[in-house]
Amino acid sequence: MLIHETARTAWRSLAQNRLRTALTALGMIIGVTAVIAVLAIGEGAKASVEGRIRALGSNLLTVRPERAQGAVRSARVETLVRADADAIAELDGVEGVSPESTGTAQVKYREANLSSSIQGVTADFLPLRSLDVASGIGFSPDDDLGRARVAILGANVAYELFGERSAIGERIQIAGNGFTVVGVLGAKGDVGFMSPDDMVLVPLGTHEGVLFGQSYLGAITVKVRSEGESEDVRERIGELLRLRHRLRADAPDDFEIRSQTEMLATMGAITGTFTALLGSVAAVSLLVGGIGIMNIMLVSVRERTREIGVRMAVGARRRDILLQFLVEAVVVSIFGGLVGIFLGWLAAFAIARFGGWETIIPTYAYGLALGVSIAIGIVFGVGPARRASTLDPVEALRQE
């Protein structure tokens, strides 16, 4: 029998029983939808991480304090100080240094109130991070020295507090202290951890002296003159800090130096792992979908035993029967796959639109989804189809 006749027969038998076909395909539909949505979220997250690497430039190093091994467990690690930053600034190959301190505090403007990450930074922070104010001005070295009560708001913070109105010159409260907003950062649009959009910047001196009362740094960002010198500079900083912190030769570092690209690559890897994990959960539902198809095909073979006998009596070979049932299974799974692709696309769109996550459906996902659907149809259809094709025609005709 010609293949298009076989396909037509399969289609008719499926169309004959629409509800059952739809339910059979449901497992595939859910599985493919989930796979497409997960891939779209993963790909979107990857793109946003990559975007941030590009925005940061690849010649930034971050020095962070690291708890010395065996030290008392304390909430804050207090090893990096401003003098360390000043010393690093003197090293060869270092173009700029930005000492930073981190804290969290309540930020209020009239009735508006939110908890935000408060970053203490110097005048060098913005240029070093390739950030700029969208309105107002940045900090001056005097703000730092004079512990000026001025603040620069991230775009999201500004919007939450002021809406569409201008924040420049307004008085806000940070942990109960009055501050004047001097600048608002341009929106970076990226999401997640440590986005500048969600920060409030204050002069480092103010951060230490007025708000949090501590003189230890959260991080020192170092800008290296050129990317090629990055490794040398890293070593020099290491030596310098060990010397300054008077570490013995056998003591481990009490700090950690990482490049920004490394950090983001780590984040990218975490994102990738999450995507793979969620993807495999979604893939399990594809497996369940396949088992659903197999189940219904087995029922169908049993129900249609007599039909199989009649077809054999009029000249169907074993392979004609095999092909007929296999094509039926594959048609169901392709149908499920196509619907799933459409729903997955819809889900990715909805997540981006209403969830605020960037989603990108990679082109290979369409091919993958369709290919996997066909493969599942074949893998789970071949058993029932074999069973149909190996029936004894005399027995099959006897079936009621």
């Binding site: 029998m1 077809r311 009596a313 009029v314 000249g315 070979r317 074993r318 005399v394």
Partner: protein
């Protein structure tokens, strides 16, 4: 396909020649072997119409399955159109059924989801032929059902269903049409109509072999083969064999 050929001189073969045909079933673990067909030989010439009769369990259904290439004999030879089909593999037997055999079943066995013409078309599709629709319509015309071509089986009467089944059996122009109690599921009037149709087809040259225990069906054939316990106990002109059959079974009915 390597086939032994029946010794023959003519250009055309005798449609059916069987020699010493046996079909023996072995029940599970039992020593007992059931000799359903036990050393049968006969030939059927082109254009003959034959009824095989006998009490239930006499092996006539098994014989029909072997004749129809649905089942394989345990031993013996079966030449269908001159080729020994007794030992053919599955695919070749499927091909033999498709080309040389037309089945008419007691319970019609039409596919319920297809209309009449599609049912008739089915053997042609498996034969991989073209122009299947036109040929199927012609076959329906031969059985007088051209106007029911697009009715599904559940929209047809019993007699009409059996006529569709006969059209399906005829559409490939097979060597023989095999009927398994073709009137068994019909009332006597429609049964007679179906037999009239088969008679007409026989008159037009179709070779027909029927298995039946309806003597009026057997009587309308040229020749009757009587079976008992897997063996042939009589083979001759219908009238004489039916007479013998009635004699033989007189005690059973008394």
């Amino acid at each position: 396909m390597s086939l032994a050929h029946e010794p023959t001189t003519g250009a055309t073969h005798t449609p059916v020649v069987i020699e010493e045909l046996r079909k023996i079933y072995h029940a599970d673990r039992a020593e007992l072997a059931v000799r359903a067909v036990d050393g049968i030989s006969f030939r059927i010439e082109r254009g003959e119409s034959v009824a095989i009769v006998g009490p239930s369990g006499c092996g006539k259904s098994t014989l029909l399955h072997v004749l129809g290439c649905l089942d394989r004999p345990t031993s013996g030879r079966y030449f269908l159109e001159g080729r020994d089909v007794a030992q053919l593999d599955e695919d070749d037997r499927a091909r033999a059924r498709n080309r040389h055999i037309g089945f008419v079943f007691q319970s019609f066995n039409l596919l319920p989801r297809m209309d009449a013409v599609e049912n008739v078309e089915l053997p042609l599709l498996y034969a991989g032929q073209r122009d299947t629709r036109a040929r199927a319509l012609r076959a329906l015309e031969r059985v007088g059902l051209a106007d029911r071509a697009h009715h599904r089986p559940n929209e047809l009467s019993g007699g009409q269903k059996q006529r569709v089944a006969i059209a399906r059996a005829l559409v490939t122009e097979p060597s023989i049409v095999l009927g398994d109690e073709p009137t068994g599921a019909l009332d006597s009037r429609t049964g007679r109509e179906v037999m009239e149709l088969l008679g007409r087809l026989h008159a037009e040259g179709t070779t027909i072999v029927l298995v039946t225990h309806d003597l009026s069906v057997a009587r309308s054939q040229d020749r009757v083969i009587r079976m008992r316990d897997g063996k042939i106990v009589g083979d001759g002109p219908a009238a004489a064999e039916i007479e013998a059959f009635v004699q033989e079974n007189a005690g059973d009915f008394a």
